[in-house]
Amino acid sequence: MKILVCMKQVPQKDAPLKLNEAGTWIREDVSYEVNEPDAYALEEALRQKEKHGGEVVVITAGPARAQQVLREALAKGADRAIHLEDAGFVGLDAYNTARAFAATIKDEQFDLIFTGLQSDDYGFAQTGVILAQLLGRPHATIIMQIEKTDGGIQVKRELEAGYFQFVDMPLPAVLTIQSGINKLRYATLIGIKQAKNKPLQKVSMAEVQSAVGANMQKIERMYIPHKSKKTEFLEGGASEIAKKLVDKLRNEIRVL
């Protein structure tokens, strides 16, 4: 199986984020990490390769810093990486990101393409499905299990409220992967060493520009959300806070 994993670099979960001056995006001087569901997508690709053989290729779009995500993926066992390197990729909507990916891989034949089910920054939850449509391939979303069958694959889709569904589908296909589908591995020292010699292809914005159009949706303004609820902050030492909290639980919330 030849598998492509689409990955994204996002701000670290507990990174303090600040708005840029224009109020349209964050200030980029923060720490980054791999988008969590994408890490599970990579792990699943590595496991499928271990079972069935083949190749795992990782792709990302973003400025130079995003290369870190690819380096980590190579260290964990991906075979090669593609970096659409330009700060401009950060501002693309899901449709254009998918178009840039589709243009980059147009001469390759992947059996499976994985994405995480959504990203921690925009949270569109769309890029994988759009990519499937652009490539004319079937897709399934929020996947918790993948088994190879005679005619293709059987996947387990997560539905809401604890429900699931098995879906049989042909290959090639695109799947969006849910966090928790597997247990993540760590990169080994030897993996980190080997990663340095693995191919990392760079693609410039100019090379995919003809496939990318104007964004169809635009962030007019980003801001700190208006608070809808009045929150009372308790302050003091730990034991003082514990006393205040118990007072609230007894006299206001009335659960004691």
């Binding site: 949270g123 929020i142 801001y223 514990a242």
Partner: protein, 329 residues
């Protein structure tokens, strides 16, 4: 011709998904503000009774989009059927709830029509002639007003809980229901879905719990779960968690609160080290009181907390357990 807002309600297994009422309420509010006509559609096979249910609300028309190929649900069939319908009807804007099913097909539909979806919105705002849709960014740390920069139809999905489903206005008389039969060649449907099922191990029903102590990443290590359990026991409540905790196997999956887990509405929801990602919030924002303890003063959980403690949960929880025990003694 007047501009039209189309709300596509969701049915699963022949039943209306109640979250659809929230989207109808959103459509009614938008129609009142813009003067545009509100129409609705239900997609499936044998969905006339759902269409009639929707027709009792204040809408101009209900379309029942029917085809044998629409049962069971597949993204290929739903996307193709709605594309045929939208190509002929040309609404200005199409609203749907941001459910797992809609997430599965709406990007395919919009891409097939060379359009875009502003997904997971929590509201909208009219700004002169412009319509802005508000959605959360960076896991709820920011909100963004987003506009369409393309031709219609505009696709929008609304987050669970963004509008009040119980605020749907009834119609003076039943709206007309029109059946639209769609021809779909069966070989265009590539996925073969099986029956929907629930995992047998889903044994714990947290929806009835009055007190829930819930843990997030801030609990740091598996062995620290015990501390949260002691607090839950002292309070006489249930232990629960955000998704990452269950993904790591520190608590079983049936203890998970959020869009992929259980939706709860206890008297007290005590969140320990939970940042408050959107997917978690939708599962617990119905709680009567939310108490949050988190060391990050910008954690989105504080947006919806009634009582907040900015601090280290490992400092605060041990004396809290003692105080609760004293109070109960």
């Amino acid at each position: 011709m007047p501009e039209t807002i189309l709300v596509v309600v969701e049915q699963r297994e022949g039943k209306l998904n109640r979250v659809s009422w929230e989207t109808v309420a959103a459509g009614q509010a938008l129609a009142a503000e813009t003067g545009w006509t509100l129409e609705t559609a239900v997609v499936g096979l044998g969905v006339a009774s759902i269409a009639n249910e929707v027709a009792s609300t204040k809408v101009s028309k209900v379309y029942s989009i029917e085809s044998a190929a629409l049962n069971p649900y597949t993204p290929d069939a739903f996307s193709a059927a709605l594309k045929q319908f939208l190509d002929s009807q040309k609404p200005r804007i199409v609203l749907m709830p941001h459910t797992y099913q809609v997430r599965d097909f709406i990007p395919q539909l919009a891409t097939a029509m060379q359009r875009t979806v502003i997904s997971d919105c929590i509201g909208y705002r009219k700004d002169g002639d412009r319509l802005l849709f508000t959605r959360q960014m960076f896991q709820g740390k920011f909100a963004a007003d987003v506009s369409f920069a393309c031709d219609t139809p505009w696709f929008v999905t609304f987050q669970n809980g963004a509008f009040r489903g119980d605020k749907v206005e009834s119609g003076a008389s039943a709206a007309p229901v029109q059946t639209v039969n769609i021809e779909l060649p069966v070989d265009t449907i590539r996925n073969k879905p099986q029956e929907v099922f629930k995992e047998a191990k889903q044994a714990v029903d947290l929806t009835q719990a009055e007190i829930i102590v819930s843990v997030g990443r801030g609990i740091k290590e598996q062995k620290n779960i015990e501390l949260a359990k002691q607090l839950a026991d002292a309070l006489g409540g249930e232990i629960a968690a955000s998704r990452p905790i269950c993904d790591s196997g520190w608590l079983p999956m049936d203890r998970q609160i959020g869009s992929s887990g259980q939706t709860v509405a206890p008297k007290l929801y005590l969140a320990l080290g939970i940042s408050g990602a959107i997917q978690h919030i939708v599962g617990m924002k119905g709680a009567r009181s939310v108490v949050a303890i988190n060391k990050d003063n910008e954690a989105p959980i504080f947006e919806i907390a009634d009582v907040a403690v900015v601090g280290n949960l490992f400092d605060i929880v041990p004396p809290l357990i003692e105080e609760v025990k004293k109070a109960k003694a």
